[in-house]
Subunit: 337 residues, 2 copies
């Protein structure tokens, strides 16, 4: 990578992101908690484990149907904690502001953060603010970090635990967040506005782990969408994941918007969904528990884990054909979160 | 503040920063850990306390004499942990990159982060990378967050614990970091380059707390410099802090550079110094311990805490006169850290 320059694709959650993370960050920072590549890092800590995660948010525009950068920053970090089975304990929030930003805009964002944090009962205990001259940043970037606690008794879900025979579940429709931001940014109008699914998933995750204490994997399919997360799990677990295309729930407006823009909805970011991989004997219980939670209404079983070919994701189409579902490459959707 | 816009001064660590933090962030996020306004938040956690802190780094230029944005990002967060008496446990690092940044530049920064983290034996366990289009950010911003542990037996130093009669100590010369960045950015040349003091202070902090287990306050005087930190302590502790101007150690080059640029060195950022406020009976022990540590070589007693006037910082000049040392106002030094 030495002679390369950073491209938008390096931040898109697909193939180039994975190369940058492995070749640069994991190579230099090399440690077991980082290398596990979960949504949160896990630190052992006596009777329980500390979960720790961070994300920067650069979404454009700042406000979109169903949310804004502040709500997204809180939910994104809470969901990274929830995905490893952690109870969220505290958040930090660091702001990089462009000189000239109206204080009123900042306050609307902060109020949304407060409301989202209240829903989770998580305090924002630490923060920082930097201001850069006009033109050195675009309005506002927010970085949130979160701490959570995982009981030592829980075999925390991890991306390397998927096993042949496991069921693959999704908690609802995919692509809503990415398409809400894209159609808002590009001013594409439909009969009704596409709404982001941005919401905190701590409660849904708790319900899932209650019903399926042996849940093998739980992931938050943000940048790179369902395709990126399934490819990561297939590679880290050394399995093949087979998905039935027709079983993947997609809102009609999202499907149309994706067709119009030439984007595969399986590559589009979600901010309020969980992918869950469970042993077959717990699949029905988990699916039922998800379906009876308001944030898991559209839950569906979308596929199964197969022993091989290792590291592959297969998509079975309605006609019985099978295609390889790859990591997204290139950057279809810059500044989506 | 409703009709205001964000100015550079809102990020400068002085009066406007304080207003923004109190009126906006503390008002909305309101909770005891945040409101304590220490360098790190403290969460009670059974047998000990968890320290949690975050900072964004936007320094310009990325590389300066004595450090770069990566070293600064690790040291800044480690020092915020050290200042509350915490043993650093884990770091996260989140990058916002401008499209077009050479990967080679990013790698040099990451290598510096690795080296600084190694010196502290702290792993970087979590991270994120976002890339924004050319012109939407200036090269690279880094946000680090840190977790540390404070033993419950330690009465953690806090900015509201200064008491009349306490001695005010500084671990060495002030203004080096800010003037290193400024003179580098403005291409002002002296006989020798001014070097940033950027370094991790976990070891110095441990030595201080060993020698002075009743240390009342320990702060890392970054943005806003010594003046901002002393004013914050005076306000939060409800005391007056009296400083002897002649006792404050300043390197000759830094003094000249400040005069040239019309900047008060007491307002200039440090990244490798600690301000320590200790009961008089522990002052000599702490000063001795600092002085015998390589990172506290220039340690000095610079003043005393007085009962009043409450919330004020007084500076006694060589001629016996006394002036009020105020919070910095305006933004003298944008993007200094």
């Amino acid at each position: 990578m030495k002679d390369e320059i950073i491209l938008l694709a390096h931040g898109a959650g697909g193939r180039k992101s994975a190369v940058l993370i492995h070749e640069l960050f994991c190579r230099h920072f090399d440690n077991p908690a980082l290398n596990a590549m979960g949504d949160s890092a896990l630190l052992s800590d006596g009777m329980r484990r500390l979960a720790f995660t961070t994300d920067s948010f650069v979404v454009d525009p700042l406000f979109f149907p169903g949310g804004n950068i502040g709500k997204l920053a809180v939910c994104g970090t809470v969901n990274d904690l929830a995905a490893v089975g952690a109870r969220p304990v505290a958040l930090s929030a660091s702001f990089i502001l462009e000189e000239g930003l109206p204080v009123e805009v900042l306050e609307r964002v902060v109020v949304s953060m407060r409301e989202a944090a209240r829903e989770v009962s998580i305090p924002v205990v630490a923060g920082d603010t930097k201001v850069v001259p006009r033109g050195s940043a675009d309005q506002m970037f927010i970085t949130t970090s979160g701490i959570g606690l995982v009981p030592e008794s829980l075999a925390a879900p991890a991306p390397d635990r998927a096993a042949p025979g496991d069921a693959v579940l999704i908690s609802g429709t995919i692509g809503d967040h990415g398409m809400a931001v894209m159609t808002c940014r590009e001013r594409i109008r439909f009969s009704s506005e596409i709404q982001s699914d941005c919401c905190p998933l701590h409660d849904l995750a708790a319900v899932i782990l209650d019903a399926g204490p042996n849940t093998h994997c739980m992931r938050d399919p943000t940048r790179g969408g369902l395709a990126a997360v399934l490819n990561e799990i297939a590679a880290q677990s050394g399995v093949c994941i087979e998905i039935e295309e027709a079983a993947v729930p997609i809102n009609e407006d999202v499907r149309v918007a994706c067709e119009l823009l030439g984007i595969d909805p399986l590559h589009v970011a979600n901010e309020g969904k969980l992918v869950v991989i469970v042993p077959p004997e717990e699949a029905d219980a988990v699916l039922g528990a998800m379906g009876s939670h308001p944030k898991g209404e559209g839950a569906a079983k979308i596929g199964m884990v197969q022993p091989e070919p290792v590291g592959r994701v297969h998509l079975r189409t309605g006609l019985g054909a099978c295609r390889i579902l790859d990591m997204p490459s290139g950057d279809l959707l810059p500044r989506i979160c």
